[in-house]
């Protein structure tokens, strides 16, 4: 299972990652980051396949995928 | 080895001077009356293992000079009046990115397409920055083919020293006329180290060449830095020739080819016992202030130009109302001759 780390301070809430996650493991947070933007969060219970789609599509390069 | 003397046109002398100074990049676009320069570079710079590019336009040529200078090369371009108008875009960027470069303008008649006859009507666009923004180019105006050769070499050193574009301002007469030139044995000094140049960031932090300062206050700060550099150049780089100023009652002021004709008129008048002097500004920016600081209020200055009075403004500013400043000029291809100058001097003497 892969580990998904989202840098929420860099996230601009464009939601592209959320749209492309095949398992729907990324959710829009109700909270705001320091730039007053709604960021996305990875479901802590989710089992990531490591397909990288979210990281590849992220314009801010703020998603890291680790083993 | 003895000194070598060759017969060569002004355009070719500038090209040869550049190669002698270690110029290793030239980009240009054909325009009369400077075509001998680009042709000379095509042959001789390539032989000297430099890069020669015939660009698709003046805009491209000056941007190539920008790129080459950013990469650390000694870069040059040349053109004539309408082409220089186009190059002003890149000249402003060079100034904004603090890049050294040498730009040659062999002036022709204007405005618009004008004609291909000699003129000095680009004095304003040369000495007032020329493009957008608060910047200056250092402007040198050779008066002979030998001086064109020598000053071209100086231009590269000044451009590197002060990190700004230097313009050599000549006219069609200077570009086309052939004169003997003594080639200097000036060895190419080790070129100044350019730690800011783009070479790939091996072993150092990345270098950025740019003129863009978006954050509030940054551009103003940068402009003040430029102004400080310009003030230093003003103090250190005035160049001029002065003749017979001690007893002169009328002082001719002329630059470039026009100064040669003025000098010839001066010698005739001196032969007749008339007390005439001459100031020939060699640096047009910074404009020489020193020779104009004369106490005798009865002196008259006569500015002679192949334009309708452009350098005239700088003479008036330098004289600052202490003495009378008169003007004689022709343009659009008209070149004043000695007789016309002598006639004007006689009028001033009797008035």
């Amino acid at each position: 299972m892969a580990k998904v780390i989202i840098n929420v301070q860099k996230c601009k809430g464009c939601l592209l990652c959320l749209n492309f996650c095949p398992k729907g493991l990324i959710k829009k947070s109700k909270k705001l980051n320091l730039r007053s933007l709604n960021y996305v969060e990875f479901d802590p219970q989710g089992e990531c396949l490591g397909c990288l789609q979210c990281a590849v599509v992220c314009p801010e390069c703020c998603i890291e995928i680790r083993e | 080895m003895g000194k070598i003397k060759i017969l060569i046109s002004g355009n070719e002398a500038i090209a040869q001077g550049a190669i002698q100074a270690g110029c290793n990049f030239y980009a240009g676009y054909p325009i009369t009356p400077q075509n001998e320069l680009i042709a000379y570079m095509a042959k001789n710079l390539t032989q000297a293992k430099g890069v020669f590019i015939q660009a698709e336009s003046e805009l491209a040529a000056i941007s190539m000079v920008y790129g080459a200078s950013a990469a650390g090369a000694r870069a040059m371009t040349s053109s004539s009046s309408p082409g220089i108008s186009l190059k002003q875009e890149g000249i402003s960027y060079l100034a904004g990115a603090k890049l050294p470069a040498v730009i040659v303008n062999i002036m022709r008649g204007g405005p618009g397409l004008g004609n291909i006859a000699p003129a000095q009507s680009d004095y304003f666009q040369a000495t007032r920055g020329g493009g957008h923004g608060d910047y200056q180019t250092l402007v040198l105006a050779p008066g002979s083919v030998q001086e064109a050769y020598d000053l071209t070499q100086t231009s590269f050193d000044l451009a590197d020293k002060y990190r700004l574009p230097v313009m050599i301002l000549g006219d069609g007469i200077l570009g086309q006329m052939m004169e003997p030139v003594t080639l200097s044995a000036r060895k190419i000094k080790v070129l100044p180290l350019k730690s800011w140049a783009l070479t790939g960031c091996r072993g150092r932090k990345p270098n950025i060449v740019k003129s863009f300062f978006l954050r509030e206050g940054d551009l103003e700060k940068f402009n003040l830095e430029l102004q400080k550099n310009y003030a230093l150049i003003r103090r250190q780089e005035e160049r001029y020739e002065a003749l017979y100023l001690k007893d002169a009652k009328i002082i001719l002021v002329a630059y470039g080819s026009m100064a040669r004709i003025a000098k010839s008129a001066l010698m005739q008048l001196r032969g007749l016992g008339k007390k005439i002097g001459l100031i020939r500004p060699i640096s047009l920016w910074p404009f020489p202030q020193k020779p104009f600081q004369l106490k005798n209020k009865k002196i008259k200055f006569l500015v002679v130009e192949m334009s309708y009075g452009q350098m005239l403004d700088d003479v008036r500013l330098a004289v600052c109302g202490r003495q009378k400043v008169e003007f004689l000029g022709r343009s659009g291809g008209g070149v004043l001759n000695e007789e016309e100058i002598i006639k004007k001097v006689r009028e001033l003497v009797s008035s």
Binding site: - | E56, A60, S63, A70
Partner: protein
């Protein structure tokens, strides 16, 4: 298991781009390819005028600014002075295909050994969404209020197809940021364009159909869908040369 982390050639900065903008993706692709090829210390990038004007704030290697449209003239000179360096330009549609058309065509025609990353988002973004040379017919912009009209504004300019005709050109491919798969294909194309330069093969250009959600008036996902459904019809993907 595959992993993903920020490339070394991309500074750990936030961009100034709007949410969902393709520039961020393209910057990262370029940085990733440069890392993969191990050429970070040899690369010199030339940034355009347009939204990506401060691309050098994001890239961790030597960069130059160029006047609007003149990136390929600047890059030509840098490469000729330093043939051993890897030189690329990163340009938008206004920069490359309007004000810089002359520089683009002639650098390509000289067969300059350069890599060009051409971002086609069919609008001028930096200045507020005006009509670009690549704006689609009927597409509304702030200077084509009723939509681009062929009779008044001409047609979307297919500069990549034009460049593919030139003998000096080595490689041209059009790719699209319409999905993660499209982005991965784009990455391969960008890599090939850099490899060509390393192998001294000449002028290589990758045109990327890239989203501008702000001036298309679409949300980021819908912007990707618009590339997929509309833009690709006008600008077909694939290798043009």
């Amino acid at each position: 298991m595959r992993t993903f982390k920020r490339p070394e050639s991309l500074y750990d900065n936030s961009t100034h781009y709007c949410p969902g903008c393709g520039h961020g993706i393209a910057h990262r692709l370029v940085a990733q390819v440069i890392d993969e090829l191990g050429i970070r210390e040899k690369v010199i990038g030339v940034a355009p005028v347009g939204c990506a004007v401060v691309a050098y704030d994001y890239w961790n290697f030597d960069c130059s600014e160029a006047a609007h449209g003149r990136a390929l003239a600047v890059a030509t000179a840098i490469k000729r002075v330093h043939p051993e360096n890897i030189v690329f330009t990163y340009q938008g549609d206004g920069d490359l295909a309007a004000i810089g058309t002359n520089e683009t065509i002639h650098a390509a025609n000289r067969g300059e050994n350069l890599t060009v990353i051409f971002i086609n988002n069919a609008v001028y973004g930096m200045t507020g969404g005006q009509m670009a040379p690549t704006t689609l017919l009927h597409q509304k912009t702030s200077t084509s209020l009723e939509g681009r009209n062929a009779a008044l504004h001409g047609y979307p300019l297919k500069i990549s197809e034009m460049l593919a005709l030139l003998p000096g050109v080595c490689y041209i491919e059009r790719v699209a940021f319409d999905s993660p798969q499209g982005i991965l294909k784009a990455q391969q194309a960008v890599k090939l364009a850099f490899e060509n330069q390393i192998n001294n093969l000449g002028f290589s250009l990758v045109e990327i159909l890239s989203p501008c959600p702000t001036y298309w008036g679409l949300n980021p996902k819908a912007a990707l869908d618009w590339i997929q459904e509309v833009m690709k019809k006008e600008f077909p993907l694939g290798r043009l040369k």
